[in-house]
């Protein structure tokens, strides 16, 4: 008798399964797809469009002409090279100073450990652009405005929290008993670190390094405020394209190009983001 109950829905389904249709989920899925996917899809279409005049729903002519034009622009290459240089330098410096610090926070005890550990939150407890203005005022006196190293410093500070907190969690989750066991059979401290600690903490640390590289690549506000006019990174170039460039496709091509590193980050960072640890890092 039960089978008769929900007439129309049950009719199309196999009779034994009576899962109610998840209307809430469908509504959320449709609305979020419309709000998240559609705008990016439109940008993707623009990147491969040669002619798209207003009232037409689809472009009149597709093609790669604007890829060619964008990629032969000197300012695009200069910005891309500069952004990659900046991200590489910042990430390497950040790893060099933060990973030893993370190890110390995770494993050693020293005076002021907790206060210093939480001091890295300070940068996130203030409105970011206000803080940047305060830093810029100091850089102005030091003649660091508009220089490569000024931007490196400002972006380096932006990576500290991630590059210390995520690796600290990674080092803490390493099984201490395995390290003890290795030491008991005669492994030296470096051997233990290399063969036991690093392989376990490595993937998470790699994710943190990747996040900081991608985050630095897209960092806009520090580069804009501290770097201008000498330093034009990719996002800064995008701003000027959005503000002053009449050719719509340049921005679209750049967006699609810029999207690639972000997509790689998405693939790699899923393990970090997925864990509740990430949200807890934000105080959730």
């Amino acid at each position: 008798m039960e089978r008769l109950a929900p007439a129309t829905i049950a009719a199309r389904r196999p009779p034994m399964v009576r899962i109610p249709t998840d209307w809430t989920g469908i509504v959320f899925a449709v609305l979020l797809s419309a709000a998240v996917i559609v705008p990016l899809l439109v940008v993707g279409v623009w990147a491969f469009t040669e002619v798209w005049r207003y009232p037409n729903v689809i472009p009149q002519q597709f093609g790669l002409r604007f890829w060619n034009q964008t990629l032969t622009r000197a300012d695009v290459w200069a910005a891309l090279t500069l952004s990659l240089q900046l991200s590489t330098v910042v990430t390497l410096l950040s790893a060099a100073i933060c990973l030893p610090a993370a190890y110390a926070f995770a494993r050693l005890s020293f005076p002021g450990r907790n206060v210093l550990f939480f001091s890295f939150l300070a940068g996130h407890a203030f409105p970011k652009f206000g803080l940047l203005i305060a830093i810029a005022a100091i850089f102005l006196q030091l003649n660091l405005i508009g220089t490569f190293w000024g931007v490196v410093l400002i972006q380096l500070v932006g990576t500290l929290l991630f590059m210390i907190w995520i690796p600290v969690a990674a080092f803490q989750s390493v099984d201490r008993r395995m390290e003890e066991a290795a030491r008991d059979v005669g492994a030296g401290p470096f051997r233990v670190f290399w063969s036991i600690t690093l392989p376990q903490a490595g993937p998470t640390i790699a994710a943190a390094v990747l996040l900081s590289f991608v985050g630095t690549f897209y960092e806009t506000e520090g580069a804009w405020l501290i770097g201008a006019p000498g330093i034009r990174t990719m996002p800064v170039l995008m701003i000027s394209f959005i503000n002053n460039q009449m050719v719509i496709q340049y921005g679209a091509v750049l967006s699609v190009m810029l999207w690639v590193p972000s997509f790689i980050a998405l693939m790699f960072a899923r393990r970090v983001i997925g864990g509740g640890a990430f949200a807890r890092g934000f105080g959730g």
Binding site: V42, A101, L108, P111, F126, A136, L225, P235, W259, A265
Partner: protein
């Protein structure tokens, strides 16, 4: 092969460690950077705006730049639009993210997984690409206009370059973290508590109001704090999508610093944004510290 097989029992070494400050050496550079590029600029900014030469050139306590800010109608308008944008964004974020998180908390399967992926997706879209996409979709003759036109409807009044432009962009940008924080809070709501309430006849709203909300109120506050800190002095999205006048504090500070070339007033504006956000910042730090301590 330094095996050494230490003769002294290890606990002794460990307890000695706490007195030995060599850990300090390893953390010295990052800590120095925070002190130099976060703490010092803030102290310096407050000091420089409060303690400076007056008209006669004598160094002393001087509130002129603050008096100027609060007596200048243009500055006041900018502050007002910033407060309005922040408030509207916070309300919209809660209205959007709370239902999504509640749905995600109490469902399983492929559809919720898809909804979650969509809600977190904007985290991986740099705001500069978001700004560009916004203009192509909601800007004049954008995709929405094209679609409306194709079914014979009039164009929309585009939010591009209006306060709503900044609001839409900022809400979009902040959805992922808000959902993640709320979800993490909802993870602390135990199923038995909800089932017990259902058993005694509570409806969905009563369950939400009396059982769920009190347990996630801290997460809601953290999510709001985080959003407020990010939105109040945001720069890129309001600069590209919002109105030129009045403008939000971010673009305003940028213009004062770079185009008007007036660091003193720019720093004054920065200190004023600090003051407006101090409560949210402290609450945020307290919650994170509390969570880490668990």
């Amino acid at each position: 092969m330094t095996d050494a097989a230490p003769a002294a029992p290890r606990p002794l070494i460990d307890s000695n460690d706490s007195r030995r400050p060599h850990g300090l050496l390893l953390v010295a550079i990052p800590v120095f950077l925070v002190a130099w590029l976060v703490i010092w600029p803030i102290i310096n900014a407050i000091g420089r705006t409060l303690w400076r030469p007056d008209a006669t050139g004598a160094l002393g306590f001087n509130l002129d730049s603050y008096v100027f800010f609060f007596s200048d109608q243009y500055s006041i308008n900018n502050l007002t639009i910033t407060l309005w944008t922040t408030l509207v964004c916070a309300i919209l974020l809660l209205a959007i993210c709370l239902p999504i998180s509640l749905y995600l908390r109490f469902s399983h399967g492929k559809l919720p997984a898809y909804v979650q992926a969509m809600a977190i997706f904007p985290m991986f879209v740099p705001s500069i690409i978001l700004a560009y996409a916004f203009i192509r979709v909601l800007g004049p003759n954008g995709m929405v206009d094209i679609l409306l036109n194709s079914v014979g409807l009039p164009k929309i009044r585009t939010p591009y370059l209006t306060p709503w432009g900044a609001v839409i962009g900022l809400v979009w940008d902040n959805i992922p973290l808000t959902v993640l924080i709320l979800l993490s809070g909802l993870g602390n709501v135990a199923n038995p508590a909800i089932e017990a309430a259902r058993d005694v006849g509570a409806n969905r709203f009563q369950v939400f109001w009396h059982i769920i909300l009190p347990r996630i109120s801290n997460s809601v506050l953290v999510a709001i704090s985080f959003a407020v800190l990010g939105i109040f002095s945001s720069f890129t999205l309001p600069y590209l999508l919002g109105p030129a006048s009045p403008e939000m504090m971010g673009p305003f500070m940028n213009r004062t610093f770079r185009e008007v070339n007036d660091p003193l007033n720019a720093i004054t504006q920065a200190v004023i944004t600090f003051c407006f956000c101090i409560a949210f910042g402290l609450f945020y730090v307290r919650s994170v510290a509390h969570n880490q301590g668990k």
